[in-house]
């Protein structure tokens, strides 16, 4: 290497480092610019007493703007109205019976996760607890007595990229952990079954505050299971049901039905199962739904969908629960809808 060529090399290397720096700075600046939290303006109206006393929808705001990730509220009578934005930031949120459950990730070098139980009228925190992984599903029982949540636990699978889930049930009033589904006895056709790769997720509560439905995943298969908190037992009802959601009248279960698979990406379509016959019917929505479905009313179900491919902005849609009809956009820039039909007072108080 001669002196000149050596100098030339250093110059070229300097240029490469320069280009690398420009790319890195541009990436941060553009990435920051595209950050939904940084872009857009305020669109919120304040949370009023009248709003939470009337039937309303609580959701996670995902519109571009400084309210991204906050909990928003719109009246059920006019869901297209400008949302009221609360001070609560969550990755998943759900409210029922006057109580809310908010799952939140504190991102950092070591990311920490917390679950927060809040008053669904004031949106003030009542108690909180640490979560063992990334939030996935949150539900509150109809009377606000129980909360259930699912988290992804990284590194728990046996291939490097493996994900597995853990699902917990807590007493909302005291915060006490009542159950971890993985520790329940699981039966199929009366026989006890167990495997290391069992995963449970997506609890939905029945009115009695003891029965619940959830998903059991094992290998590539998913099952609808029915659980009994007092007896700490779970029984398998049917194959091919993910993320169940019990209808307000308790007769049907809306769920995500897996389609395709193989080497392609997972595609889920919303479907409704009749609990008396265990027969399912797919709904008119054909896009990929990866949200725990919420009953909008006795005749419609609602769910979140990304605005475009891999967009952080999502919309809440609804579709008839009996099949047929067409999907209809209900709220723009929203995720994780929870429909509150009665007044938002806690109907259950600990004795």
């Amino acid at each position: 290497m001669t002196a000149t060529s050596s100098r030339a090399r250093l110059v070229v290397f300097g240029a490469i480092v320069g280009v690398a720096l420009i790319v890195a700075v541009a990436a941060v600046v553009l990435g920051g610019g595209k950050d939904p939290v940084a872009a857009g303006g305020a669109r919120a109206v304040p949370v009023s007493r009248a709003l939470v006393d009337a039937p309303h929808i609580v959701f996670r705001d995902t519109a571009r703007g400084d309210a991204y990730g906050r909990v928003g509220i719109v009246p059920l009578s006019n869901p297209k109205a400008r949302p009221a934005i609360t001070g609560l930031t969550c990755d998943r949120v759900y409210v029922a019976g006057g109580r809310g459950l908010c799952l939140r990730a504190g991102r950092g070098v070591i990311t920490t996760y917390r679950g927060i139980i809040f008053d669904a009228r004031t949106f003030r925190e009542e108690r909180s607890f640490s979560l063992p992984g990334n939030p996935s599903r949150a539900r509150v029982s109809a009377d606000g007595k129980l909360v259930a949540y699912t988290v992804f636990v990284t590194g728990d699978g046996y291939n490097q990229i493996g994900f597995s889930t853990r699902t917990f049930i807590r007493d909302a009033a005291t915060g006490r952990e009542l159950a971890q589904l993985e520790r329940f006895t699981t039966r199929r056709d009366g026989r006890v079954i167990h495997a290391a790769n069992f995963n449970f997720w997506g609890v939905t509560f029945a009115r009695d505050d003891n029965t619940f439905y959830a998903t059991l995943g094992s290998g590539d298969k998913t099952y609808l299971v029915q659980g009994d908190i007092a007896r700490r037992e779970i029984k398998v009802l049917r194959e091919g049901v993910e993320c169940p959601s019990l209808s307000p009248d308790g007769t049907r279960i809306a769920f995500k039905q897996r389609e395709g698979g193989g080497v392609g990406p997972v595609h889920w379509r919303p479907a409704v199962l009749d609990l008396s016959t265990l027969r399912a019917r797919t709904l008119a929505e054909t896009r990929n739904v990866d949200d725990q479905i919420e009953w909008y009313d006795d005749d419609h179900v609602s769910y979140g969908l990304p605005e475009g491919p891999s967009s952080p902005v999502t919309d809440v849609w609804k579709v008839p629960a009996a099949g047929g009809g067409r999907p209809e956009r209900v709220i723009s820039g929203a995720w994780s809808p929870a429909v509150v039909r009665g007044p938002a007072t806690a109907t259950y108080q600990p004795t």
């Binding site: 941060v28 070591i110 291939n159």
Partner: protein, 430 residues
């Protein structure tokens, strides 16, 4: 080798000159400029790579929406393809005597893949295709890079050269996840920013390789290789390496031990299960092992040069056996976990680069890359098989049984390997 006095090997740490110094009539071996440069190339590339690897599970699950099982399946198919290009790359590098250019192709492909991830925008088919190219790039570059290291090192200092390279490599691997999570904490969900910054870091590594690293040619004395030096390197001549007893034994021993090596993911998983460690601390286990590896890499490489690389390679597997014993029989407390990570880092330091240093003198220079490619294909394949087997046993009979089976297997395999290497003492002390 065994009779070389200690002070000969113990060159001062700051000594990084290319030319071997001469002192009191004895040659003092220094780490060559090429080795340091290649170490820096690996540092930047690993930094870039690990940034992406750290966020990939999140990205694939939340943005691409691929299930873990599907990714596992695709990943398995890629393994086969990687083995093939590894060998092809090795042959090409040897045949054209262009190790640097072949390595640069691999590094370049992986760098471009970071841009590719941005370009395909989370479409699943595009993303998996980009990841395939990325794996292929890694498959291509490893053997020619290690060949450059070995060809540019004094035979007596091979262990230390590989130790220095792996230490620098590990620094990058440790900083990568840290950088990625700091970025994602500042810009949540902005995976493209992570990918672009990863690309710019890879570019610097590639620049160092292309601009400053040079191929070495025909340095080997004629008498070491009686065959006609101009003979074309073909698949046949590469496979002909297996006729060299020492090379055959080393490949066999390395691959055989690979069958009983539990992947780090499983080791951390067992620790986490036993200690009920909060999952958020999971990255610390990786960090602890990497720190131990980083600390041990150079001293162990030097010791290997002095007492014999075969011995150190086997001793490294005894450290692994220690890991298994602790995990299987000790009630894990903080001390035991720390001890496990130290032993695990020691295992990496005594085996990864040392195996290459051990094999180097058994492979003629003109076939060095192909030889490395054959060995790494063997060990990578058996380690993959071991992961599948360990996972299957875990699911069927539980982690305790799986640990015990691998423990017994390794306890039998290490003495067997020692006997195999002892029969060919040049290999043990090479």
């Amino acid at each position: 080798m065994r009779n070389v006095p200690a002070e000969v090997m113990a060159a001062p740490g700051g000594e990084v000159l290319a030319a071997p110094a001469v002192r009191s009539g004895r040659r003092r071996i220094a780490v060559s400029r090429t080795v340091i440069l290649l170490g820096l190339v690996s540092l930047f590339t690993d930094l870039s790579q690990e940034m992406v690897t750290a966020v990939l599970p999140l990205y694939l699950t939340y943005q691409v929406r691929l299930s873990p099982l599907q990714f596992g399946f695709i990943d398995g198919m890629y393994q086969g393809a990687t083995a093939l290009v590894r060998l092809l790359g090795g042959l090409l590098a040897d045949r054209k005597e262009r190790h640097k250019e072949v390595a640069a192709t691999g590094y370049g492909a992986s760098a471009l893949c970071k841009l590719g991830l941005v370009a395909v925008g989370g479409a699943w088919l595009g993303t998996t295709a980009v990841l395939l190219v990325d794996r292929l790039g890694k498959g291509i570059r490893t053997a020619p890079r290690d060949a450059l290291i070995s060809l540019d090192s004094e035979r007596a200092g091979l262990g230390r050269s590989f130790g220095v390279h792996r230490a620098l490599d590990t620094v990058g691997a440790m900083l990568g996840p840290l950088a990625a999570f700091v970025l994602l904490a500042q810009l949540p969900g902005q995976y493209n920013t992570v990918f672009l910054i990863s690309f710019s870091i890879a570019l610097i590594g590639l620049g160092i390789l292309i601009l400053f690293v040079e191929n070495r040619r025909n340095r080997e004395p004629i008498d070491a290789e009686p065959a006609a030096p101009k003979e074309h390197v073909t698949l046949r001549s590469a496979l002909g390496l297996f006729r060299i007893t020492r090379f055959r034994m080393i490949t066999l021993v390395g691959s055989g031990l690979g069958l009983l090596t539990i992947s780090d993911a499983f080791v951390y998983l067992v620790i986490q299960r036993q200690t009920h460690l909060d999952v958020k601390w999971f990255p610390l286990l990786f960090l602890g092992t990497a720190l131990a590896y980083l600390g041990f890499a150079v001293p162990i490489g030097r010791i290997a040069d002095r007492v014999g690389r075969g011995r150190v390679f086997l001793a490294g597997h005894l450290a692994l056996l220690g890991v298994y014993l602790v995990l299987r029989f000790v009630d894990l407390g903080a001390g035991a976990v720390l001890c496990t990570l130290l032993l695990f880092g020691l295992y990496y330091a005594s085996t990864d680069g040392v195996l290459m240093a051990l094999a180097s003198p058994t492979i003629p220079e003109r076939l060095r890359t192909s030889g490395f490619a054959l060995i790494t294909t063997g060990t990578a394949t058996t380690r993959f098989m071991s992961s599948v087997a360990f996972g299957a046993i875990w699911v069927a009979w539980g982690p305790q049984a799986a640990m015990l089976i691998f423990l017994i297997g390794l306890a039998v395999m290490v003495p067997a390997a020692a006997i195999a290497l002892r029969r060919h003492p040049e290999a043990a002390a090479a």
